[in-house]
Symmetry: C2
Amino acid sequence: MKKCVVILSGGPDSVTAAYWALEKDYEVHALTFNYGQKAQIEIKHAAEISKTLGITHKIIDLSNLSEIYEGVTSLVDSGIEVTGEFTDPIIVPFRNGVFLSIAVAYADGVGADLVLYGAHAGDEEFYPDCRREFYEAFQEAARLGTGRGITITSPLSHLRKSGVLREAARLSVPLEKTWSCYLPGPDHCGACESCNNRRRAFAEAGITDPTKYEHE
Amino acid sequence: MKKCVVILSGGPDSVTAAYWALEKDYEVHALTFNYGQKAQIEIKHAAEISKTLGITHKIIDLSNLSEIYEGVTSLVDSGIEVTGEFTDPIIVPFRNGVFLSIAVAYADGVGADLVLYGAHAGDEEFYPDCRREFYEAFQEAARLGTGRGITITSPLSHLRKSGVLREAARLSVPLEKTWSCYLPGPDHCGACESCNNRRRAFAEAGITDPTKYEHE
């Protein structure tokens, strides 16, 4: 059976990528990263969804990376508040580079020839490590660094977030079980950048939003 | 002051890279990785050398990566013996890819425009992630993934191991404080692949080997 590694954050994008891979008959090995993010709850969501799907799931503890992300990003540093303002430092430098490198190491070990993550067209403007040119370059580095051809891609790269939700609906993804908020929960805050994007995308997609937001 | 990040394993190659950067007047930020390697002692050597040099040093705990390296490499898995035979599975898949990705994230945070590691020409035959073509491709991925130009290189790439030791001698590197062995110590085993390389390189370089080996 052909195998793939999916970077699974627990958000709608990466969960949709996992469902996409299952539809394509891949044996899915999911990796979730604890990098000290305030939204630890997303890890629990990723675990629950993996269990439902019956796929292999590993949680990789990188919480010590907070050492290098302190002072840099509000998603990790407790001293920097998540306000929902446009100026929030929500970029975690080269996060997908770190995640992809470990996913490639894992893929090499289990003999997978595909690594998927949930980057989509709506991310490209703000996050350089979500762009196609980035993951294509990373794929080339991975080929040279492992001596094996491992394809790195996102099955959602041509879609904006509303398109991802429509694809999710087609694949019967349990969207109510996914997590987007930058904060610890237990409900989505409804005010941070990621909650705003989630809410807007549901509206644009014409799909009923099953999310409970603290701030409506 | 111009800054660089050095991946410092505690071995002679990476320590020489750090000395090289200091000679070039870089402010050096050293990163050492605990990836569950049996040779935990090398981390202590890296810390001591950093202290002597008065450089910033962070130890990043990736010991949870043993989850993905179990069954794959004798350098991590306690069930796979390090015998010193040529057939030992001593390759840790994409290890330098993982280390470089975190070094790039760190460099982006501290504003360094150079990332160094200690790959040299003698490694290139066996380790794809020590080859120049690999780190040049990785540099391109890092540029695209961070939106910043960060140079990734090894100042030793043109040298074989004996040449590295001669360069180390020129830079007054305290070679007796470096660690090469794949095993936990307290002395170098003198029988593993890495001890064999170390011993041979000292002989080739014509430098007195200060290392105490268990097996002479």
